[in-house]
Every structure is written in structure tokens, then in C-alpha cells.
């Protein structure tokens, strides 16, 4: 399955791992904060509309 | 303008004004270096120009947070902003005062500290020249950083983070002049670049500092 990377396997695999982890972390962090802020906003907006 | 300069100088020289603190810091850093890297004089003389430049830069950085903060706290900065004097010249005077009280003493002290680090004889002249040309840029850039962080409660650390990357070109060319001077190589190119950076920052950066200060005083 994985192609023969020769003696540089560690370097290639670790750089792929590091990059993908960083990218996924960035996306996950953005989405998590986005969801939270969106929920908070809805809550605040509802409260505002109830109170006038 | 002159009155403002004299006032700033008087405040700095007065007891508790902080004059001499930068100088003492410069001395201590230089003394600590041999403890860190070992006492071999050949090694020390190789790194002396760089260490002295870095020490001067850090000493300069250390005194930046007082540059505008005191005037901000007692409200005199608001008075200065409403004074007929344009804010651009106020920040230029502030930078000049900072240079006279911090930069110039560092330049004058550098040769004596050079002796401690075994700086090669031809290096002394170029070290003083490069610091003389480079420190005004450091004061002007530092004034910009101080203006950015003036309203913040814990601005000191942030100030270093903001200002140090801006010091990179000055440090590179300045230390290059001192290093080349110490090994008797030709120094013209880095010297001209250093002078160019200093001239450009003195000419342009006060406008940015004044703009930033206006935003902070809003």
C-alpha cells in the first residue's frame, strides 16, 4: 500500500503527519469557535427580542 | 519644541528618572557574556561586535516603555496633543530626547566595554560609528512601538515583541559594519545601508507614530 520511501521514510512521513495535524487543528479550532460564537449570538438575539 | 526637549531631558536626568539604568544594563549584559561563553580571548574578540550591538539594542529596548507611558499617565500627553505643536514633531522630539538620554550614552560607553571583550583595535572606530548611526533609528522605531502600546496596562512585554522584529534590519547592517570593521574588511555597503535605514525611519516613521498616538488618544 504505502510506496517504498527508502531511507527517507521517517522524514517524509513525519512531515506529512506534522502538516496534516496542524491543518486539521486549525480547521477544527476555527469550526469549534465558529459554532460556539454562532450559538451564543442566537442566544443573545433571542433574549433581546424577548425583552424588547 | 526646545522647551519640550529640555523638559524631557530634565525629567530623565532628575533622580528616579531612569537615566543610567540603560547604561548599567548594557554593562551587566557585557560582563555576563564571558561567563556564558567562556573566557577565551580569541572567541570573545570574534563575537565582541555582535554582543555589543545586541547589548546596546536590548538596553535601548528596556527604556522604551517609559518613553510615553509617564506622560500618558499624568495626562500631559493629552495636553501635548491639543497644543499648537503638531504631534509629528512631538514624537520626533520624544525620540530625540530618548536618543540623547539612552542612545548617546550607549555609544560613548561601547568602546570601554569593547576593551572587556577584547575587541580588535580597528574595530573600535567602526563600532562607535555604526552605533552612532544606528541608535537614532532604534529610538525612532522604539517611539513607534511605545506609541502603539501606550494605552495598555501590561504593554512592556508586548512592546518587545512588536519592536524587536522591526529592529532586525538595523541590527543586521549595524553589526555587519562593526564586524567587518573589526576584521578590517570593507565596510562601505553595510554602512550606507545602515545610514539609509536610519535616514528613512527618521523621515517617515514619526508620521506613523503620530497617527498611532492620535488613535490611542481618541
Amino acid at each position: 500500500m504505502i510506496p517504498d520511501l527508502g531511507k527517507y521514510a521517517d522524514a517524509v512521513l513525519s512531515s506529512y503527519a506534522v502538516s496534516i495535524v496542524l491543518l486539521v487543528a486549525l480547521i477544527a479550532f476555527s469550526v469549534m469557535r465558529g459554532r460556539k460564537v454562532r450559538k451564543d449570538m442566537e442566544k443573545v438575539e433571542q433574549r433581546m427580542s424577548r425583552n424588547g | 519644541m526646545i522647551a519640550l526637549l529640555l523638559r524631557d531631558l530634565k525629567l530623565a536626568f532628575r533622580a528616579g528618572g531612569g537615566f543610567g539604568l540603560g547604561l548599567a544594563f548594557f554593562l551587566i549584559v557585557t560582563v555576563m557574556v564571558p561567563f556564558a561563553v567562556g573566557p577565551q580571548s580569541s572567541l570573545l574578540s570574534t563575537i565582541a561586535p555582535g554582543v555589543l550591538w545586541l547589548g546596546a539594542l536590548l538596553a535601548c529596548l528596556l527604556s522604551l516603555d517609559r518613553l510615553l507611558a509617564l506622560d500618558w499617565e499624568d495626562g500631559s500627553l493629552d495636553l501635548l496633543a491639543t497644543a499648537p505643536l503638531p504631534l509629528e514633531s512631538v514624537v520626533t522630539i520624544k525620540a530625540l530626547a530618548h536618543w540623547l538620554t539612552t542612545g548617546l550614552p550607549l555609544v560613548l560607553a561601547a568602546p570601554f566595554l569593547g576593551v572587556l571583550l577584547n575587541l580588535p583595535v580597528p574595530g573600535f572606530f567602526w563600532l562607535v560609528i555604526s552605533l552612532l548611526i544606528g541608535t537614532p533609528a532604534m529610538s525612532v522605531i522604539g517611539t513607534f512601538g511605545a506609541a502603539l502600546t501606550v494605552g495598555l496596562k501590561r504593554g512592556g512585554l508586548l512592546l518587545s515583541l512588536l519592536v524587536l522584529p522591526l529592529y532586525v534590519p538595523t541590527l543586521i547592517f549595524g553589526a555587519e559594519v562593526a564586524r567587518r570593521g573589526a576584521t578590517e574588511m570593507e565596510v562601505q555597503t553595510p554602512l550606507l545601508m545602515l545610514a539609509g535605514i536610519t535616514a528613512a525611519t527618521i523621515a517617515l516613521l514619526p508620521f506613523a507614530s503620530a497617527a498611532v498616538l492620535r488613535i490611542n488618544l481618541r
Binding site: Y8, S19 | L158, P165, V168, I172, P190
Partner: protein, 257 residues
């Protein structure tokens, strides 16, 4: 529609509501195409390209390193542009977009630096060399950190937007200066080993031309990274707009209540 009217239509997106509505509509497209491009590009590059005769399998790192490095620089350029728009036209979305982009730039710079170090270890025999290209990226990283720290430190949002915009302008000038200074300071022993030179990619430099076998998957990856960047900026700007709105609503609540 005349050109002026078209230009005006562009400014409509500076309206936060319109921005949110439009970005909501186009975001799924950007998410899907960007992830698809990156997956295709990386799988193509990883499984279906041969090893380089000189670099062996480490050539596969290029598919991450080059797009990340490109985006690290383009992200700063985008922040510069949006900062200018904010300073000149006072559109809040613009300032918030700059704020939203900065952490992406940090991650891209970090990926470029880390993959570069991992590639450099077997190729140059060292994790880190004070090569001009590496050094300027490190300096860029410091600029990003300072920029984000300044945003975090200031409470009033408009003041923060103003100050960070000015910092971005001044920082850009000094970043370019540093690039030249660093070039002068160390002539770059490793420049010849670099496969990412513009001339090498476009093919005028035949000796170091990246052959098409490597170039097409690389292109797919670059497109994927660009799309991902757009998707992230749109999404994160939306988050910043909402966060700002919460702040405004809360302030109004406090005043009336």
C-alpha cells in the same frame, strides 16, 4: 453595468449582513473543492510520483512545503490589503478579515518552517541553517506573532483595528527590508539546492526545472491550499462578525437594562 457601478457592487460585500449571507452560500463550495484538491494532490503526489534521482523520496515533502510557504506570504499580503481598505474606507468586515487571516498565516508559516526543517535534515544534514530564505520566514513568523498579540491586547475593537492596521503597514515595509538585509547578511549557501525558485518552477532554469511529473500534483495542492485559505478566511471572518455583534448586543443590553 459600468465599471464604477461594478466597483460599487463590490463594496456591498462590506455590509456584514450581506457578507454573512453570501459567504454562507459559497462556503460549502470552497470547503469541498479545497479539501478535494488537497486530498487528490497529496495522494497523487504521495503514491503516484517517482522519487527524485537526487533527493529520493523527500521530494514528496514539496507538496506540503511549497503551498504552505506560498500561502504564508499571500496571507500577509491579504492582511495588508484589507488593512488598507479598513484605514481608507472604514469597512468593519475588512478589519475583521485581517484579524481572521492572521492565525491562518501563523499555521502556514509554521508548516513551511517545520516541513523545511524535516526536509533539510537528510538533505543538508541539518535541521536549521541560517539561510536567507529560512531566516526571512522566521522573521515573518515573528511579525505574525506580534500582530496577533496586539489584536489580543487591545479591548476597544475599533482602536485595535486601527492600530493593527498601522502595524501591518509598517511591518510590511520592515519585513521587506529584513528580507534584503538577510540576503546581504548571508549569501545563502543552500540557494542552489532549492527546488522552489520561481525560475525553476516556470521552467526557464532548465537545470533545476521541476519536471512535470512533480509539477502537476504540486499545482493541484497549491490550488487546494488557496481554496482552503479562502474558505477559512470567509468562515473565520463570519465568526469575528458574530462575535462583534454579540459584544454590541451585550453593550446595548447593559445600557437599556
Amino acid at each position: 453595468m459600468s465599471i464604477a457601478a461594478k466597483a460599487n457592487a463590490l463594496w456591498e460585500y462590506a455590509n456584514p449582513r450581506k457578507f454573512l449571507a453570501t459567504s454562507e452560500r459559497v462556503l460549502p463550495f470552497f470547503w469541498i473543492t479545497s479539501l478535494a484538491c488537497i486530498c487528490v494532490g497529496l495522494i497523487w503526489g504521495f503514491f503516484f510520483t517517482p522519487d527524485d534521482y537526487k533527493q529520493g523520496s523527500t521530494v514528496k515533502i514539496i507538496y506540503l512545503h511549497v503551498p504552505a510557504a506560498l500561502m504564508a506570504i499571500n496571507c500577509w499580503l491579504m492582511m495588508l490589503a484589507t488593512s488598507l481598505v479598513w484605514l481608507v474606507r472604514r469597512h468593519h468586515v475588512s478589519a475583521l478579515a485581517a484579524r481572521a487571516a492572521a492565525p491562518i498565516g501563523i499555521v502556514m508559516t509554521l508548516i513551511a518552517l517545520l516541513t523545511g526543517a524535516i526536509w533539510g535534515q537528510p538533505m543538508w544534514g541539518t535541521w536549521w541553517a541560517w539561510d536567507p530564505r529560512l531566516t526571512s520566514f522566521l522573521i515573518l513568523f515573528l511579525f505574525y506573532l506580534g500582530y496577533v498579540a496586539l489584536w489580543e491586547a487591545i479591548e476597544d475593537p475599533d482602536t485595535a483595528a486601527d492600530l493593527t492596521s498601522v502595524l501591518c503597514l509598517v511591518g510590511s515595509v520592515f519585513a521587506i527590508l529584513s528580507r534584503y538585509a538577510v540576503n546581504f547578511w548571508n549569501q545563502g549557501l543552500h540557494q542552489g539546492a532549492s527546488v522552489m525558485r520561481a525560475a525553476a518552477v516556470t521552467g526557464t532554469d532548465t537545470e533545476e526545472k521541476v519536471s512535470n511529473i512533480f509539477f502537476y500534483p504540486l499545482l493541484v495542492c497549491i490550488i487546494g491550499f488557496v481554496l482552503l485559505f479562502i474558505a477559512l478566511v470567509l468562515y473565520r471572518t463570519g465568526t469575528e462578525i458574530r462575535a462583534r455583534r454579540i459584544k454590541a448586543l451585550m453593550a446595548r443590553e447593559r445600557v437599556s437594562g
